[in-house]
């Protein structure tokens, strides 16, 4: 009796020790997980905030010489990244215009025909597409658009490569969202004599709207920072360009250009800060939408 009690006490203290160790480990590992994002944001803000101003958004980058002069005078580099911002917006909007209808319709098709061989094939291909390296998508857009259609680097080619990147995410989120809508809602509409296409357009899509929107926003935040495919398609431009058949800049392309010019290095941080801000905002907004409708 006495010895049994002793053993229990010893066990107990060992257990509390193990428990504490484990909790400490978990805490430590979670800190490791969040530290990169904290460090990144800290660094970007620390090094980038000084450049952020109205000019940064509405002006185009200086040439190397202007930048060098400013640097040697100890001033901020003049100009901004308006060509990159407009280019990114142009290409993201165009990519969305291509990817959203195709992705949503494909998602509806997968939802409507779950067991069909063509649907399974489409679903698998869409999954594979998600894993294709983005530079390869750039190459494909180069072959499909740059050479035969726009005979040169263009925003259109960039958008096409980005839209292929977005597509699998939209297809998946559409299918998953529709699957979560109870069958009874669909039957309620059918029982009112609503034709099938209207059931989809006026009942299923509105009911699953926030799910669809979340998928689309995540898709956009995914392509916002893509650089590799744009190098082979949109190329870049030192001026603001809104013609989709012409070479166009984008924020990530500019970051790459700044990196290659020793005089412009300071602009890397502010451009990255802006890009990061856009991606984070989109992520937070889509999380909010998803949470609100749970």
């Amino acid at each position: 009796m006495n010895s049994a009690a002793k053993i229990t006490a010893a066990n107990l203290s060992r257990r509390t020790l193990k428990d504490k160790l484990f909790k400490g480990l978990v805490l430590f590992l979670s800190l490791i997980t969040i530290s990169p994002i904290v460090l990144i944001i800290y660094k970007l803000v620390e090094k980038g905030y000084r450049q952020i101003s109205l000019d940064f958004i509405i002006k185009t980058p200086p040439n190397t010489f202007e930048a060098m002069t400013a640097l040697s005078n100890g001033e901020l580099i003049p100009g901004g990244i308006a060509n990159g911002i407009t280019g990114t917006l142009l290409m993201v909007v165009l990519a969305s215009v291509i990817a959203i209808p195709v992705g949503v319709i494909t998602g509806i098709y997968l939802y409507e025909n779950p067991g069909k061989p063509l649907a399974n094939l489409t679903r698998n291909i869409s999954d594979i597409l998600q894993g294709v390296p983005s530079i390869v998508l750039g190459l494909i857009a180069y072959m499909w658009i740059v050479k035969p259609i726009t005979s040169g680097f263009s925003a259109l080619a960039g958008s096409v490569s980005l839209s292929i990147m977005m597509l699998p995410m939209i297809v998946r989120s559409t299918e998953e969202t529709l699957k979560m809508i109870p069958q009874s809602i669909k039957e309620a509409a059918v029982a009112l004599g609503v034709p099938y296409y209207k059931v989809i357009l006026r009942v299923l899509i509105p009911t699953g709207f926030s799910g669809l929107l979340t998928g689309i926003l995540l898709g956009i935040s995914r392509i916002l920072g893509e650089t590799a495919p744009l190098m082979l398609t949109a190329l870049g431009s030192s001026v603001i360009n809104l013609d989709i058949t012409k070479p166009t800049s984008a924020v990530p392309l500019l970051i790459w250009e700044f990196y290659n010019d020793p005089n412009m290095v300071d602009l890397i941080w502010s451009s990255s800060l802006l890009l990061m801000g856009m991606v984070l905002t989109l992520n937070l907004v889509s999380k909010r939408i998803a949470a609100r409708t749970k």
């Binding site: 009874s184 039957e187 309620a188 509409a189 029982a191 009112l192 004599g193 609503v194 509105p206 009911t207």
Partner: protein
């Protein structure tokens, strides 16, 4: 089955040799024939899986929503074969209420009532719309409870209120017959008795065909009863007669709780 349950004068619905199979040759409803009386409540009873829902859903051609479901026989609604009617016309004439309340989650109470018009793109003047909404909600005794919150989402209502809203949605189309599939099985006793009172009141203007698992409910509110077993219509007649003097042994066993 007695001849007079198949041949009544001016039935709202005539079911003739109806068979429905989900997989080829495997019938969930087998050769059912019956006439449904106007302005009365007809209950469909039977153990789980005997084909009650399957039969009810054949009446507004709900099975067309799914592939591979085979339907044989004929259904004559108000003297017209339902396969000759445009879908929208059939479903206006045969309103359906489901086991679980299923208001459209994106629509307000008001829009849920007129969902049949709205989703089909049938235009109504504002005045007509208001009238339809008020009349339908009054019919289901929901008007006083929701008249100040008509523009709130229908899903904010309680389960029983939602089910009455779904009945109002069917009534808004001014149907001939209302098909209800265990409309109270998801509701508490208070909400259930409200719906029961409502159905008794509604039979003045509508014909009601209701699947129910609840024998005392059938006894309380129905005028006629069907008993189905393994897809067949075993017995059909006045509820009073069936409960006091069932003709078939299987009906008697079911009513006395020996199975089901």
């Amino acid at each position: 089955m007695k001849e007079d349950s198949v041949n009544i004068k001016d039935p709202v619905l005539s079911i003739r040799n109806l068979s429905v199979a989900y997989d080829k040759g495997n019938y969930a409803v087998k050769d059912v024939s019956a006439d449904i009386k106007r302005n009365s409540v007809t209950a469909i009873m039977g153990p789980s899986g005997c084909g009650k829902s399957t039969m009810l859903r054949a009446i507004n051609r709900m099975h067309e929503l799914y592939e591979n479901i085979e339907t044989k026989g004929s259904l004559i609604l108000n003297g017209k074969d339902i396969t000759d009617m445009p879908t929208i016309q059939l479903r206006r004439m045969a309103g359906m209420v489901f086991q679980r309340p299923n208001p459209f989650p994106t629509l307000s109470i008001y829009d849920n009532v007129i969902a049949g018009y709205k989703l089909n793109g049938i235009r109504l003047k504002k005045k007509e719309r208001d009238e339809v909404v008020e009349r339908s909600l009054r019919d289901v005794t929901l008007w006083d409870e929701v008249k100040d919150t008509l523009h709130k989402k229908g899903t904010f209502l309680s389960g029983g209120q939602q089910q009455r809203l779904c009945i109002a949605r069917a009534l808004a189309f001014d149907p001939e017959v209302i098909l209800l599939d265990e409309p109270t099985s998801a509701l508490d006793p208070v909400a259930t008795s409200k719906i029961e009172d409502l159905l008794v009141k509604l039979k003045e203007n509508y014909s009601i065909l209701m699947v129910t698992h609840n024998m005392s409910q059938a006894a309380r509110i129905s005028d006629y009863s069907m008993f189905m077993y393994l897809g067949e219509l075993v017995e059909y007649g006045k509820t009073k007669d069936m409960f006091t003097n069932p003709k078939d042994r299987r009906t008697e066993e079911y009513l006395t709780g020996k199975f089901g």
